[in-house]
Amino acid sequence: MKWLLVAIIVAATTASDFLQSRELKRSIGDWSSLWRSGWLAVAVACLAVSFFAFLKLLSMEDLSFAAPATAATYVTETVVARAALKERVGGRRWAGALLVAAGVALVARPGT
């Protein structure tokens, strides 16, 4: 159950940040275009899903587990940034994402 919740949080946060980044970059300084497209509303809806799943997770697990575990979004967002936002992800950036993944794995070990 707790890993299902972490998966939901990571997926929803990644979708929300992808949409926020794309929409904010697309419409720099053009606020009316930003609101009219409707994608920002989808991003906020994803954020709400992520929030309720995080709330449920906190009712079952330690905060010192939940906060670092959701840092897995750094890895998924690096992948999405490369694949969908066409950002160029070099060796150092991949290494950083892998360090984050290692940190998440350590935090996730039971009974630590």
Binding site: K25, I28, K56, S59, A67, P68, L99, G103
Partner: protein
């Protein structure tokens, strides 16, 4: 980190302080509210939780966090924002130990510090890789 006057830079750092403080404080408030016993399950559980003052405080702080983070993303690069604000993870774990009384062992601390090291490494890379013509600048 080039460009922008002293006032703009101060404004940026104030936003960073707001982002770094509101996330762990919001997490602690949510965590406290989430753990209180409830009578109901399912959808009613959610309604009962949303009436809890700790949850409401947590939501307020996390709304502030989201808005200040968006404002920061408008004046600084995402890859600068991520490592700088990852300090919030350390504060979350520290507050979990100090305020919520969680047992935070060495392995969990090591994992948290690895996460911060990873984001710091990412922060050293070129911030903007999609617009090669634009100058590398903190403020727009």
């Amino acid at each position: 980190m080039t460009g922008g006057g002293r006032g703009i830079r101060l404004h940026t750092w104030l936003l960073v302080a707001l982002v770094v403080a509101t996330n762990p404080l919001g997490n602690v408030a949510l965590s406290r509210g989430a753990r209180q016993q409830t009578a109901s399950t399912g959808p009613a559980w959610l309604l009962e939780k949303l009436a809890n003052p700790w949850i409401l405080l947590g939501i307020l702080l996390l709304v502030l966090w989201t808005l200040s983070r968006m404002a920061l993303l408008g004046r600084a690069d995402l890859s600068w924002v991520l490592p700088v604000t990852s300090l919030g993870y350390v504060l979350s774990v520290a507050l979990a130990g100090l305020v919520l009384g969680e047992q935070v062992g060495g392995v969990r601390w090591a994992g948290t510090l690895l996460i911060v090291a990873g984001t710091a490494l990412v922060g050293q890379t070129e911030p903007n890789t999609t617009a090669p013509a634009s100058p590398r600048s903190e403020s727009r």
